[in-house]
Homo-oligomer: 234 residues x 2
Amino acid sequence: MSTIPRDFKPAHLASASAIEVPEVVIDRLPQYVRTLTQLLDEGVEVTNSQQLGAQLQVTPAQIRKDLSYFGRFGKQGRGYRVRHLLTELKQILGLDAQWNVAVVGVGRLGNAILNYPGFNPDGFHLVAAFDNNPDNVGREVGGIAIQPMMDLAETVSSRDITIAIVAVPSAHTQSVVDQLVDCGVRAILNYTPINAQVPSDVRVRSIDPVLALQSMTYYLTFQGHESNGYRSAG
Amino acid sequence: MSTIPRDFKPAHLASASAIEVPEVVIDRLPQYVRTLTQLLDEGVEVTNSQQLGAQLQVTPAQIRKDLSYFGRFGKQGRGYRVRHLLTELKQILGLDAQWNVAVVGVGRLGNAILNYPGFNPDGFHLVAAFDNNPDNVGREVGGIAIQPMMDLAETVSSRDITIAIVAVPSAHTQSVVDQLVDCGVRAILNYTPINAQVPSDVRVRSIDPVLALQSMTYYLTFQGHESNGYRSAG
DNA sequence: GACTGTGAAAAGTTTCACAGCT
DNA sequence: AGCTGTGAAACTTTTCACAGTC
């Protein structure tokens, strides 16, 4: 499931063996996918970097530059065919596949995640849930039976799980992440406020509302300053 | 509550009227705060950029450079006094104040947010909740009575609310954000997958697990490539 | 005429390396 | 001796501007 036949060929660089795409660019592609999906839903068939940029609050040049890392998807004088560009970007990101996801930790937060309807439409299938607490094991949440942590290795392998969502108490984060990595999980979405250490071939992204709030308060502190200034007392 | 007497004076630049601190730096400060808090809890009294960098997986030079935007907090040859640096950083970020926060949208997600115990210890007080649905209005969640949207302006003003968390259905995001901005809310934590437009003096941060997953799948797609490479078919 | 794709310039960010303080 | 604070260098990312194509 994680290996998909692919045939990317940026025409201008067809013989290079590996071109580095900046990580910031990869981080923006999902937003392009989302905007293109919205345009398609609205019946828009053709768009351009100007329009996409306006939607996403990004410069048109950046969109063109980002896309140029992967190929030439537009037509000069016309723009981009929405459906075509969307298909290409989804393929680049691996979103033409289904990804099986496990949730570890079924407390309040894990429960909310298992009931959240937003993952499936985007190709992420929550297929297993694990918890330590014997009171939870066996319960069914969002149509998934909670399993004991003991089953982790077996289930990750048999159900072809590549991605895990961690929603355990902070103190258990590193240990759970270690177990996931040992089982072969290669991407982790971490809902705990802990910086887990992983080998360099494993990806971690964190969902951390408190950090997000704490960086905004800086800008609220001196009222009336718009950009990030630093006012001296002098 | 959002105006706190302050007396920042980076000694080396005491007479400049506004020094721009890069936004990336501001985004890292809360992580420093978190790590310093952990060190303090462990009884560590003195640290240095080496140790902080190891914890945060950041270079020591970056930490020293980041801190240098705000002043000189360390002692050469010794390092940083944990408690002192923590106090300074919290003050810089405005975390020495209490921030009153409203939650808008009390569906499953809003419920989880209102019950999440992680905001309070960091000085973010959830003090009001709003919902459109008459079935919800009047219910109490996490000790807070849900109010109708009609009450928004009055309550934001009377309860000195500067920050809002938006957890409404996607279709309502922009309209809710507009209302919040009109009421004087200046920072918004957006849990919906919509790019809300706001005036430049209002801050928005998004919590978007699907985007996070979608950018990771890129790296899962070609197995065995560690950094972000782009494999050609040639 | 309109819009892409892209080298080159500009801007922003990180890292280096070392003077200077403790 | 050890570690900070910081200019300057190296590197990354964004923006510009225009040749080329539709």
